[in-house]
Amino acid sequence: MSKVRLGGIKAFEKRAYLTSLCRSGEDALGDICSRLASDRINLSLLTHIADKGTRESITAACTENVDGFSSYVHWKASRGECDVGRLLTDVSIISVFPHDQKLNVTGLLMDSVAGHGIRPYGFASSPSAIAILVSSSDFEATIYGLFDVFEFPTYSSPLDWHAAYRGQEDLLKEIICSYQEEMIKVYNVTHHTDLDFLNTSLPLNRLGDLGAALLELDALSLRIPFLVSKSSPDGQSMYFAFCLAAAYRDQVKDALDRNLRGFDFHWHGPVSVFFLHGPHFGDRYGIANALVTSLRHAGIAPLALSCAVSSVSVVIEGNDTNQTIAALKKSFQIPAIKRYTH
């Protein structure tokens, strides 16, 4: 298989990782985000998946290691009937970009991770990148695995990448900074409508098969505008949530059936995905709180969130996007809105 050419790899190491499974349907996400924002704790990553049927939700987040314990205390104190997972430290977030929402990038990433026996904590997409969360012990294998399936313009091997980026940690820390506008600026907002929202839980040893299904679907030039996943507490399985164009439902069902026969996928649709491009998520605290608060005030319960790299992706029920846009405009300075229909 020929390698896919990408732009680069970005890695953030020494992150604390927090997770919770909430059953009550109460606004545990809003409470957690509010508590972290009030303590000025910056999030490096946030994912959230809600199941309206069971009223369960899965939330995961990364902070700097140094903020891990404080964050954990806030999570334990947050309202809702939640099981808070063990605090993990020294977790790495490795992002590859640009994926252009192409299925072959995500599929190859899964293929590489599965092939190297890596046990990821989760995946999270942004409009331009796909991030994988791994333990520090899996960091090197993950980087090496990326070079099996991708090629990059300015480094041809893991050693090249290390030579270029090791020792740059201080700079990356300096880049993590706090912008303090009164109104959070967003470069633009795009939204995709007419999507299906798929959820499933798979044994970790079938990750490569999900990757294979995505690679099959790539031949249709289908895009994957949203994907998040989180491993189970025992690390044996992963819960996935992703969006694909509803117009390709039959082809998607066929590909999943061929590669993952016998596994149940929960389908929900139509849904829309909103991208808030570049509010500098990861560079300042309070963005997730502003997002979740503005949606809650408008009576909108997101089906899923992925706050990764510097952007925010939100999955919303239905194709009527006006209410969501109006809600977002109350907390974010939004200059342009562009709609994509699949």
């Binding site: 331009s128 880049i175 200059p335």
Partner: protein, 127 residues
């Protein structure tokens, strides 16, 4: 306007994607690079009509790349807009506007940039 080629150099892929999308919607041709070294190589491969350059990047920061381009006879005429998250916005950083002034960049825009401000700044160079 469609013939103008703009190179965006930023280590934030979402930023590159977003600015690229904005400029493409205005009819510009857009090149993308994700750090200073790749940015330099991209300039050498194809001379851009304008460079949008982030300051804080690994490998080679925007100040260094800008200064090198402005010292080089072949590239000194390329307009450079520096996107800076320095000074008052980020009091902890060791980068300063004084460093930026020394690079002879053609324009400085503080991050987080407003899309319209950036597009207006670019269009000023082509008007």
């Amino acid at each position: 306007m469609g013939s103008k080629y703009i190179l965006i150099v930023d280590d934030d892929p979402d930023m590159v994607e977003t600015v690229g999308m904005m400029l493409e919607s205005k009819g510009y041709e857009v090149g993308k690079a994700y750090d200073g070294v790749e940015g330099e190589e991209s300039v050498n491969k194809r001379r851009p009509d304008l460079l949008v350059l982030d300051v804080m990047m690994p490998r080679k920061n925007g100040y260094v790349l800008c200064a090198e381009l402005k010292k080089n006879k072949k590239t000194r005429e390329i307009p450079v807009i520096l996107l800076t998250a320095v000074g008052e916005a980020v009091p902890t950083t060791s980068y300063s506007h004084a460093d930026g002034m020394a690079t002879e960049a053609d324009d400085y825009i503080p991050k987080p940039v407003e899309a319209e401000v950036l597009v207006e700044a670019i269009e000023r160079f082509f008007s």
